[in-house]
Amino acid sequence: MARIVSLADAVAELIHDGDSVALEGFTHLIPMAAGQEIIRQRRRDLTLIRMTPDIVYDRMIGAGCAGKLIFSWGGNPGVGSLHRFRDAVENGWPVPLEVEEHSHAGMANRYIAGASGLPFAVLRGYTGTDLPGVTSTIATVTCPFTGEELTAVPAVNPDVTVIHAQRADRKGNVQLWGLLGVQKEAVLAAKRSLVTVEEIVDELTPVPGAITLPGWAVTLVAEAPNGAHPSYAQGYTERDNDYYAQWDGISRDREAFGDWLAEVTA
């Protein structure tokens, strides 16, 4: 059974300097509040794992939380660049950022292997691309039945996975619906997990399209209303498209970002 704690206590308990941490949510249900709390608690040297780094990691990278990023698409969706991510990669600011780069199919399969307790996953991927030349975690494997050569990627097993969901009950059973992303796999692949939710309710009434993560598969649950902003939680909040555009301005130069950061960590 998951324990229900405050977001601050959850981050303090689960996430330590040097940990590998996956905050997942594919455009929908991005655990933004948890990201802010990690910044507030000044975590350092994290290996950040996430298919689409998005604003949540742009902030954490700009704040100097990350030593490494494992990802597959790092843009501000619908707007353009992630400027803090670019500044870190292009100029090593505020600290150098090592990158380990995959495709979405590769990342999704790394989570699937992680959730399955397997050391690797097999896919048809990366054909004819330069990615295997720059990413050491892409290899080949031969089918023992047909002799065909396929691509292999290693499992990813984060020390901690953090996701945001619509709601949980008091036993920590988590209910999540709408676009599902890779959240289930990311939680099951992790050694420890935190789920922030819009609300904690007495009973999880059935919702079409919803999946449930049993409380016994989750470490901690924390209430974080509007915790996905500027992303959204289907049925609870709307995506704040304007904020995505605003972030372009905030993140574009170090000073504006510094002001934002000072406010968050004050």
Partner: protein, 231 residues
């Protein structure tokens, strides 16, 4: 009716999608074109988004690949792992419709870096779903704006390639592979070959049977503008 180059591009891109085609749709220009097609001549076009929406039927343009309207209107919503493994990888999808930051004469796409990978001049977003979309769909179409920085002789980094695009639609015309090299096969009304050549980063070959694209019809333009107005 007068129209912009971007509108011509979206209309031309929409026209190549036929009814009952299963199309794996990149966000941005491809999504605009695919939704225009579905709102005009191809109401039964099947749109698949990497966020897990199979058969999405949005009545406005999605703001992102994870816009809630994709899931709400879809035939089915599946996880991201499933969309790649069960739906894309086995070759069930007819057309992969992609954008690109850079595209070279051999149809290779770069969305990773400009310059050296270890010390990039410009760090681009990266691969996303493109490498496997390009290699697993029966064919790939690319839509992008025609500039010498976008259409280059040789990409700095091959992010995706697959079999190479069967068709490239730009705001100036259309390119198809001829003997392995992207060649101008159609030109939009009012655009000259010299203009296209000047906007291309290599010595662009022109097909002997170069055709002029049909200008957008009033119905097409109206549909496109209504779609954008709703978005």
């Amino acid at each position: 009716m007068s129209y912009t180059k971007d509108e011509m591009m979206s209309v031309a891109a929409a026209r190549v999608l036929t009814d009952d085609t299963r199309c794996f749709v990149g966000i941005g220009l491809p999504s605009t074109a695919a939704n225009l097609a579905r709102n005009t001549h191809a109401p039964d076009l099947v749109l698949i988004y990497e966020s897990g929406a199979l058969g999405a039927k949005p009545d406005r343009l999605p703001a992102s690949i994870g816009d809630g309207i994709l899931g709400e209107t879809a035939d089915a919503v599946v996880g991201v792992g499933e969309v790649f493994n069960y739906w894309l990888q086995p070759g069930r999808i007819d057309v992969g419709f992609l954008g690109a930051a850079q595209l070279d004469r051999h149809g290779r796409i770069n969305t990773t870096v400009v310059g050296d990978y270890a010390h990039p001049k410009v760090r681009l977003p990266g691969a996303g779903g493109a490498p496997e979309i390009a290699s697993s769909c029966k064919q790939t179409f690319v839509v992008l704006r025609h500039t010498p920085r976008a259409l280059v002789d040789r990409v700095d980094f091959v992010t995706s390639h697959g079999k190479g695009p069967a068709l490239v639609i730009t705001d100036l015309g259309e390119l198809r592979p001829v003997d392995g090299e992207l060649t101008l096969t159609a030109i939009h009304p009012g655009v000259t070959v010299e203009e296209v050549r000047a906007a291309t980063g290599w010595e662009l070959r022109v097909a002997e049977d170069l055709v002029e694209t049909e200008a957008p019809t009033e119905a097409e333009l109206t549909a496109l503008r209504e779609l954008k107005a709703r978005s």
